[in-house]
Symmetry: C2
DNA sequence: AACTAGGCTCGTACGCTGTACGCTTTTCAC
DNA sequence: GTGAAAAGCGTACAGCGTACGAGCCTAGTT
């Protein structure tokens, strides 16, 4: 054993090491591939050793979600509210897209972790300081989160990651499923998207900017 | 056995009976409580009998999701586009709120079922007929779906269902977790929401109407 | 030096899961 | 009546989360 097992070198467990390895494993193989035994194995430990750092798998999943929230950029304080919200929303999408398992886990997790709370507080602060009323700040917060999470959810359930994969996928799987007489409009859309290419990041910005612009007049100017 | 086992009376299995009972079971006890053995038991059958109607549990889950989509109202054709979208979005929220397990399942399901496709086609048709371009209709479709799914996801992860439960919950669990000095803005919000009551349905309409209003000028009038 | 307390590790075991395999029963066309 | 197909299911296997309790290693006290 090393002299400071807390630090998290390659020997010696810690809650942090367990949780981070779990995140890495979920990134690689999905949350379905994450089992306590396999996780312990990856850490060079016995399965039951993990339970000294984590009360249950549920708690592990909670901690993993909070790691994800921790990666999301907090809204900057110096800029205007819309730019700050834009940046943190883009960051949230990036993070959720790189941990696609996280979004599906959120449904079942009912109590927010510390990083989640910190983030909510910072967002609410940003909105309040920009002149939104308490009620309106709550609305705006919900609305933005709905959009970000909803986007991440839809993106995670897309069967492709890149534009090239989209092209392959559309030709091989999607279009044959859509007889032109039953789905004329979807065929039309698919054709256009196929021709022009489809970029999720750009799609995200469209809705985000629309929402931000629609919220702007709802703050009482300070 | 009855004479027409296909029909789905109380005797005789069928894919429909299996899937519907699975949905009912998930509604009652969550998707975690749904096992092939317990499902078979509820249907008065042996576990392996289910596999004559469903290739795997994955396929069962896909079919369950499609049942949920089937329950969502299609956009009406006779009204203006905004009313039609509003109605179907409200319907979607209602349905997803009554099957909270569904939203968490969507992340892992990559190929849309027939009811899902039918719904997408109808929505796209509604938007195109209202004068949205192909690209803009895609944007609008994504944006609305993001909002609906995101809302459902957030709603599902709330630890309460009714306003009364919210009050209890806020006092017992939420507020003690939020020291006023670290989370001044969240405390402020919680106090106001606590005083005024909090209605998810109303919250949903705020964002929905904001989005619909912001989309209106983006169609080229017909 | 001997002893002890407490933190850490983990082997074993239990009840559960999805489902492959193959056997039995039922249904139906001829 | 007969043969074939459809429907039902008992058994078994690998893997899951985790309760339990036994072992180890270290620090502090006597």
């Amino acid at each position: 054993m090393s002299e400071q097992p807390q630090v998290g070198s390659d020997a010696g467990l810690s809650k942090q090491r367990v949780v981070l390895e779990a995140v890495r494993m979920a990134d690689r193989e999905g949350v379905a591939g994450l089992s306590m035994r396999r996780l312990a194995n990856a850490l060079g430990a016995g399965a039951m050793s993990l339970y000294h750092y984590v009360a249950s798998k549920e708690e592990l999943l909670d901690a993993m979600i909070d790691v994800v929230f921790h990666e999301i950029e907090l809204p900057a304080e110096e800029t205007d509210w819309a730019s700050a919200m834009r940046r943190r929303s883009v960051s949230a999408r990036d993070v959720l897209a790189s941990h696609p398992w996280a979004i599906g886990l959120m449904e079942s997790r009912t109590s927010p972790g510390p990083a989640n709370l910190r983030h909510r507080e910072a967002v609410t602060a940003c909105l309040r300081r920009a002149g939104f009323s308490v009620v309106m700040a709550t609305h705006a917060n919900w609305l933005l989160d709905c959009y970000v999470y909803g986007f991440a959810l839809q993106e995670a359930s897309l069967p492709f990651d890149t534009a090239d994969e989209f092209a392959d996928m559309a030709e091989a799987v999607y279009l044959p499923q859509l007889p032109a007489d039953m789905f004329p409009y979807l065929n039309e859309s698919a054709a256009v998207l196929f021709a022009e290419g489809y970029d999720p990041a750009q799609e995200f910005l469209f809705g985000l900017d629309l929402i931000l612009a629609a919220l702007e007049p709802l703050r009482t100017s300070v």
